[in-house]
């Protein structure tokens, strides 16, 4: 029996997934895993190992060349294109290159997922302002991405990814451009989100980061193949989901 997402009661599974671009060789081969609901995963591997390709499959930018992907109880392979947006709205994505909308302010960039989902303007002002404050950019709400530093842009990108409280957060090198203190702070934010039931997948090659989240699981990609010697990724053990207080406080405590 597969474990269930504590918030949605659904899982994310990859079964013998392969991906190739055009007629090139496969960049991902026989990738099989089940994302433990509400768990924290680090995706590691050398450059060119296929981390970004795997993340693209996770955030539905790409369909695999073969294999089966099931997300939240939905078969992604056979899902009609018109139903993908609803699935994408359950995901939060931090792109490696941030992909902020250049002519929108930090506030509007963070508000984008809420607006796409139809949240009323009156209802989004406060959460967006709070999120800006949380990532330390409260005073830069009106700043355009071009006027923000790399680290500030990254924080806006992270705020945009988590503002909608996604069922799964996918982050590609989310701490690559921030100082260690901010990196830790952002990691704590991911953990807090994770405690609320969000499955978190963070691609990184920063080994120090892995130690910061003791309960995390490691997914290691090597030349497009997932290293899973114990089978724990494919058949994760069941574990209690725990009680959550709904807090996003970085240390998990209440305030």
């Amino acid at each position: 029996m597969q474990p269930m997402n504590p918030r949605t009661g659904e899982t994310i599974t990859f079964d013998n997934v392969g991906l190739r671009y055009g007629t090139d060789r496969e960049v991902l081969s026989d990738v099989s895993f089940t994302l433990y609901p509400g768990s924290f995963y680090f995706l590691t591997g050398a450059s060119g190992a296929g981390k970004t390709s795997l993340l693209k499959l996770l955030y539905l930018a790409q369909r695999p060349s073969r294999g089966v992907i099931s997300m939240f109880g939905t078969d992604v392979i056979t899902l009609p294109r018109s139903r993908l947006p609803a699935l994408r709205r359950r995901l939060g994505v931090v792109f490696q290159d941030f992909r902020l909308v250049p002519h929108l302010s930090a506030f509007d960039n963070i508000a984008l997922p809420l607006r796409v989902s139809g949240v009323r303007e009156a209802d989004l002002a406060r959460p967006v302002a709070d999120m800006l404050a949380w990532v330390g950019l409260g005073s830069r709400a009106d700043a355009r991405p071009a006027t923000l530093s790399g680290g500030e842009q990254q924080r806006v990108a992270i705020a945009r990814a988590v503002i909608g409280r996604p069922d799964m957060l996918v982050a590609d090198e989310p701490t690559g451009n921030v100082d260690p203190e901010m990196a830790l702070k952002l990691l704590r934010l991911f953990e807090a989100l994770n405690r609320l039931g969000t499955t978190v997948v963070v691609a990184t090659h920063d080994v120090h980061l892995l130690r910061k989240v003791p309960d995390s699981l490691i997914m290691r990609l090597d030349k497009g193949r997932l290293s899973d010697p114990t089978g724990a990724l494919r058949y994760p053990p069941r574990r209690p989901t725990g009680e959550h207080d709904g807090s996003l406080a970085p240390d998990g405590g209440t305030s």
Binding site: D123, P127, P250
Partner: protein, 314 residues
């Protein structure tokens, strides 16, 4: 303090979860707005102006042809082609008397010598000796309905004995080549309107593709955040629609000014036929619809272009 805010921010951002759209200015702001900087307003303005002029020309020609047709449909002309003046006059008077009793004839009136001289003045000059160049006597017939060949044959038989020099022709027959030319011009105007519409659509298609290319990153981000094709297409529709409305208004003003100016010049000709080519209130209303249709074509083209491009993404 910050922590409590952080705790509440996600929970309080209630998502409707449906496919509701980004509305109003917020949606259109996703595409950088540079009013009048792009080609669309200018292209639409020129296209609408040309379309209004072509459509006005077509409508005026239609009105002119209809007016002339209705005027000439019930008319016929009797010519007494006789060189001897006395015999010509006799046959003309006999024809008048006979035709007045014909059931299809509403009225028959001989064209006076003064009118004939006036008609021939451009060719023969003032004070020309009429008998030096024998001019047929003319009788203008008004019929009770449109002239038919059967009626004309019946009149010819009636006059055959008393006025053997009489020739009867429907007035519309004289202008058949003119009507044919007018009809061709009407089709030409119609074809111009269609071509201009297609050109406008092609221009919008190119502009929409260009806008798609320059905003590709934004579109991909909105797409990956769960934006539907419809939402993204609406962003461009709004932008193109606004530009087209702006250009369409300017084009309508320009086109109407040109039509009014040409109308005045044609009115100055004082020609009875041209006077029949004026525009009715319905015609003016149709011309006012040109920019509305232009905006609709632009919006539809933008939507189809963007939807087509988006379908190539997952």
């Amino acid at each position: 303090m910050k922590r409590s805010k952080a705790r509440s921010h996600i929970a309080s951002a209630s998502l409707s979860g449906g496919f509701s759209v980004m509305r109003g200015d917020r949606a259109s702001q996703l595409v950088p707005q540079a009013r009048l900087a792009g080609p669309i307003p200018w292209v639409i303005a020129i296209m609408v102006a040309l379309t209004v002029i072509a459509a006005a020309g077509g409508l005026a020609l239609h009105n002119l042809a209809e007016s002339a047709r209705s005027e000439l449909a019930g008319g016929a002309t009797v010519q007494i082609v006789e060189a001897l003046p006395q015999e010509r006059d006799r046959q003309a008077e006999a024809s008048l008397a006979l035709l007045a009793r014909h059931p299809a004839v509403a009225s028959a009136e001989r064209v006076s010598d003064a009118e004939l001289e006036e008609l021939l003045e451009p060719w023969l000059g003032v004070g020309a000796d009429r008998e030096a160049v024998p001019i047929p006597a003319l009788i203008d017939l008004r019929l009770r309905g449109p002239a038919t060949e059967a009626q004309l044959d019946s009149m010819r038989r009636l006059l055959a004995d008393e006025a053997p020099a009489a020739r009867i022709d429907a007035q519309s027959a004289w202008l058949r080549p003119v009507f044919s030319a007018i009809s061709s011009l009407q089709w030409l105007a119609f074809a111009l309107v269609v071509l201009l519409g297609l050109t406008s659509a092609a221009a919008v298609w190119l502009a929409a593709r260009s806008a798609l290319g320059s905003n590709r990153n934004t579109i991909e981000v909105v797409h990956l955040l769960g934006g539907t094709d419809g939402q993204i297409a609406r962003i461009f529709q709004r932008s193109v629609g606004f530009d087209a409305a702006l250009g369409g208004s300017a084009g309508l003003a320009l086109g109407l000014a040109a039509v009014l100016l040409m109308g005045r010049q044609f009115a100055g000709l004082g020609s009875g036929m041209v006077a029949g080519g004026g525009l009715s209130p319905i015609n003016w209303a149709l011309l006012a619809l040109v920019p509305v249709i232009g905006v609709m074509i632009a919006i539809l083209t933008a939507r189809l272009t963007v939807m087509g491009a988006l379908r190539r993404m997952l």
